[in-house]
Symmetry: C3
Subunit: 314 residues, 3 copies
């Protein structure tokens, strides 16, 4: 809610606190930036009610219990998602048996294989390679130099540059005379409204499919092994590795560089701290940290005890 | 061995336990999937003799001490490796001085530099870039958008999409006035029957060569620094980092996200746990975990002690 | 300084100790290689004065307090950086509104977008994709299959194959009904004399810019989140992850696989050990290790105490 704002105020853009001027909308979401907030020249700032009293004179405030989310709505209004300018580049290489929907843009050097089906209003970046039979829904974006194979992908999926989807998983029988490759036969099935960060790798299933649920947010350089299943709305931060056949329930989250071994069940809403090493199932809603991962409170206590012992000896 | 099977049984495909029907061959290799085994409608299942008694009625069994390996052989029979359909795409860019063997397939947008030599029956994916003078043996596959330079590669090597081989290593003399780059002059030499996972990076040697032995299995997003040497049959799981000049003996293995510092010797058959941080030489056959890595039994004991102390305080 | 060398000596190349012959210059920088030094047939070796007495008979020595740096100068003299052979490949796709400087080489399949500006003597590798409006200084190299967007880049910057610069950062408001993407509006601004390793990802700023200072050395598979600022001369080893809005002071360094959470200040000259997990600000010049990261001496003591306790119990 805005309290007593001058209704004639007009704003032309969003801007971070440090750079904003009177014509800009900004936000404060982290107490570390209170000094920047207090020094900011932003015309309007989205803040929690608790922060209102710290605002500099003359700044209009928009109060929200979740300023970052409110700011997201405002910024989206200034920068609405735009449909790509339709057209197929002369140097794109679209197989005659592939089907490309209406309003798609296919950039130079992109390669689309036999039998692939691209939905409407998709943007296929330059030098992307889409293998035979891949299915892509509507309003998808595939960043430059990404590669897709053995995949069925929903609507409004953003695939960032350099992503690798659908290659063989790491499946072989080890043996002292040599390792024996196990043919990888499954697909990667991705829901709607998913983001997949740059240079992330998602392997096709070995037999079952690898599955990514609706609304998952996956950061850069993440590894997702064969047969992994992510439920809806999972958040996977950069450089996480999820080993084969592990399943995440809806809205489970893993912090940066966490590693999860194979064949585990991570419950819905579970939270895995950055760099944690998960070697057992995690209950729904549980928060874990450390390696091997333990309940978060235990991990913090372990760290405190160790710190204390080291200081005593020191 | 199959005990008393009906010799008239016919199977048409392999399938995972959960999806299999009477016409399918499946396998059980992990006790976590005993319930799926017991509920499976697979016509034939490969299991250890110990699991035979748990089989559902009517399922034929193939007993093996290593069901995964036995299944690998069966699946390979259903899905034999296929030679690529030969041909050079019109938009591939093969330098006139490059030599391409018989039966090769070169996909659109691939670039092959001066003096490169590609063996017989290789498949070079779309938009791959192979630098000048690179040598590739027979029956190799290079996935889409991979790049190779300064490399000599054996036969039957599978390079996955987005792999980077042969770029300069991270070599420079640090200094407070600026860092001074050290010219990188070596190659990457790769043996036969090697797999290199998506978006993995293998740097050329600084002076000596970086070497990957026969039969190594390397997963996605692995970093292999300059001058590293892997012996035969090493297994390197996703997101492992191996720093410069470290040497792995034959059949040594590193679990996901493990980090190994430079100039170390990892003995033949040594096993490094996931996320371990190795800062010293590892003896042949030794198993280590933790960071800094210690013998596995010590690491497990450390974790147990810490857990106990934290619970006491709690 | 060279002590009493025969001034008629001539050397034709540099070479590692193990392979060098009388016509080669080599160096010794790590005590682990003293045996290789003593067995080497190198004609000239750069060593510290302390090592001189261990040299094999007949080897000429060049004494330096920093042999690696001295060797770097020598190797650069043998292998000077070469300007690329100018020319734009017929299959490169340069937008009519892009400006390409003098003496540039643009390899096959490269795509350069509208309004991009490439400085003089740059080498743009095959299948590189440079987005609209990107600015690149002089004497830059962009490795094959890299992608750049929303970026302003200085002079003498080496971007390795598969690097991703300028894609959206991982910015969204989490919510139980779905995550809401926050438009990413900033750029990536990179100084002069920077190296960026293969398959590394650097996200554009959310509102402010992501900034990489002059002379930074960044290894392979590094993740740099939105709004991160690196000062001058930072050294970021492979697979490090730096979360959004964290700032590194000049010449700060992070070892391989270290993770740094968001919104932190890492002081000038601070050193972060490999695999460390940094969750608080680090003072200038401080050295930290462990996860959560603590002063290095504390971390070593913690490890020693844990090791001792585990051995007692064992």
């Amino acid at each position: 809610m805005a309290e007593g704002c001058d209704p004639s105020l007009r704003f032309t853009d969003v801007s971070p606190l440090e750079n904003a001027g009177p014509e800009h909308v900004s936000f404060l979401d982290n107490r570390k930036y209170i000094p920047a907030f207090q020094a900011s020249k932003a015309g309007l700032c989205v803040v929690t009610p608790e922060m209102a009293a710290k605002a500099p004179a003359g700044m209009a405030l928009l109060l929200s219990p979740d300023p970052y989310r409110a700011y997201a709505h405002i910024a989206q209004a200034f920068y609405p998602a735009q449909a790509p300018e339709a057209g197929i580049a002369a140097t794109a290489n679209v197989d005659q048996s592939a089907v490309v929907g209406e309003g798609c843009r296919i950039d130079p050097g992109a390669v689309i294989g036999a039998g692939a089906r691209i939905g409407n209003h998709c943007h296929i970046g330059a030098n992307v390679v889409i293998g035979k039979g891949v299915v892509l829904g509507d309003h998808c974006t595939v960043g430059a130099n990404a590669t897709l194979s053995h995949a069925v992908i929903g609507n409004r999926v953003n695939i960032y540059p350099g992503v690798r989807i659908g290659q063989d998983g790491f499946g072989f029988a080890m043996g002292p005379q040599g390792h024996l490759k196990v043919p990888q036969l499954g697909r990667v099935v991705i829901g709607n409204n998913v983001e997949i960060g740059a240079n992330t790798t998602i392997d096709r299933g070995a037999g079952p499919d690898t599955q990514i649920g609706d609304g998952c947010m996956i950061d850069n350089l993440v590894q997702i092994g064969h047969n992994v299943q992510l439920g809806r709305g999972c958040v996977i931060v950069a450089q996480v590795g999820i080993s084969g056949s592990t399943r995440f329930g809806d809205f489970a989250a893993a912090g940066g560089q966490a590693g999860i071994t194979g064949h585990l069940k991570i419950g819905a809403g579970a939270r895995i701290a950055a760099q944690a090493g998960v070697m057992r199932d995690i209950a729904p809603g549980e928060t874990v940290g450390g390696a091997p991962a333990v309940p978060m409170a235990d991990w913090l206590r372990q760290s405190a005890i160790l710190g204390k012992m080291a200081r005593k000896k020191g």
